[in-house]
Symmetry: C2
Subunit: 217 residues, 2 copies
DNA sequence: ACGTGTGAATTAGTTCACAGCT
DNA sequence: AGCTGTGAACTAATTCACACGT
């Protein structure tokens, strides 16, 4: 029985993609005052199978008690640590268009222990202003500001033809994580992790499903 | 040899998730004036293997010519139709917060043959105004406006506790597709398709990778 | 009896490697 | 020779089903 140790292996990608939902549901259970939950009940709330949930949890450690279930508090801690959320992460938004502005104001980051500390743009009309609580800096000052504020993750919301340049600026300044909202592929050194959110791609997949989901197989 | 027929089967989900990138790269090739491309060259530009690309394309039809390659124009047509983009889709944004506002102004939709026709909110201070080219309506008028404007897809950018209600309003009005930007699971009738974009979840997966990617396996 | 943790079986996705067409 | 399309092999993910601890 391992319990509560740090992760010893990385999680399979499909498991990782479900982990944020697990953590979220566990917060709900904790807020409701539930102390113990079975894989069956938690899986029901997540609309997945109990077997899948147990398999996913087993990648992290031996966490439950046979015959009883899982302790909500323990599971919440483990998933929080598994997602790296046991510290606050300092975010930068690069690109002060409407999407970048919206993200600078986005209230959802707090729950994930994330904080937007700075926004960068090249437009002199924006530099020096505040967007909500977030100061806007000249992109040319990225390296300096990044080290001052301890920036760790950059969110890219620049026009497509600026995406690679913005990624380069961020990685050159030592940031190791990018969340890319542009629909271009950015290349980065191997120790830098990128995840992409491509709104257009999601909508195109949706229109495929709307038109063809009735087909066989 | 089938060529150019409509899709006869739905695409495997993993293949579908890559299709928007294929189409995008094909547009680039077409714009460059390239008439024929090999799986090897197209795969290189997409950073995937040529075997995977050929396998994916084979789900759509027999599209290439042995010894030569694929005709760019044909492939572009097939992927466009495969994604359902051979018509313009009418979008509604529900929720006039900063994210909804940003999406109403988002210029990227045009390339995908999508157009935001209306934004809905419950705030009387916003109703009746314009956001860019997009008129803001009272959410109570959704059914009426939806049939007037022929709305087909709703983008949900409401607060979490309003997400299910917004989804209900959209599906009751006959819309068959939802793009959910909230981090709550919305349930819909089986003929309605939902895709979710969960910014928080993506960031959490990123922080996991940043912290644990160095581990074994 | 309850419910986890996990081998075994199954299903899905990817890569290999080559027959066959140009 | 060049390159597609696809069986066969392989790898990953999911589900089944049950031994075992509480």
């Amino acid at each position: 029985m391992l319990t509560k140790g740090a992760l010893r292996r990385r999680l399979p990608p499909e498991t990782l993609s479900r982990l944020p939902a697990y953590r979220k549901q566990l917060s709900v259970l904790a807020a409701e005052g539930t102390e113990v939950v079975s894989s069956k009940e938690l899986a029901r709330r997540l609309s997945i199978s109990d077997a899948q949930l147990r398999r996913d949890l087993s990648y992290m450690a031996l966490l439950g008690r046979r015959g009883l279930g899982y302790e909500v508090e323990t599971l919440l801690e483990i998933t929080t640590r598994g997602l790296g959320l046991d510290k606050t992460w300092a975010l930068a938004v690069i690109g002060g268009g409407s999407l970048g502005t919206a993200l600078a104001r986005y209230p959802g980051f707090a729950k994930s222990n994330m904080e937007v500390k700075a926004l960068f743009d090249v437009d002199p009309g924006k530099i020096g202003k505040m967007i909500g609580q977030v100061p806007v800096y000249d992109l040319a000052r990225f390296p300096e500001v990044a080290s001052q504020l301890g920036l760790e993750i950059a969110i890219l919301t620049v026009p497509e033809d600026q995406a690679q340049r913005a990624a380069d600026v961020a990685t050159m300044a030592g940031l190791k994580g990018l969340l890319n909202f542009t629909s271009v592929f950015v290349s980065v050194p191997p120790d830098v992790k990128v995840r992409s959110v491509d709104i257009t791609s999601e909508l195109q997949q949706l229109t495929h499903l709307m038109r063809f989901e009735a087909l066989p197989l």
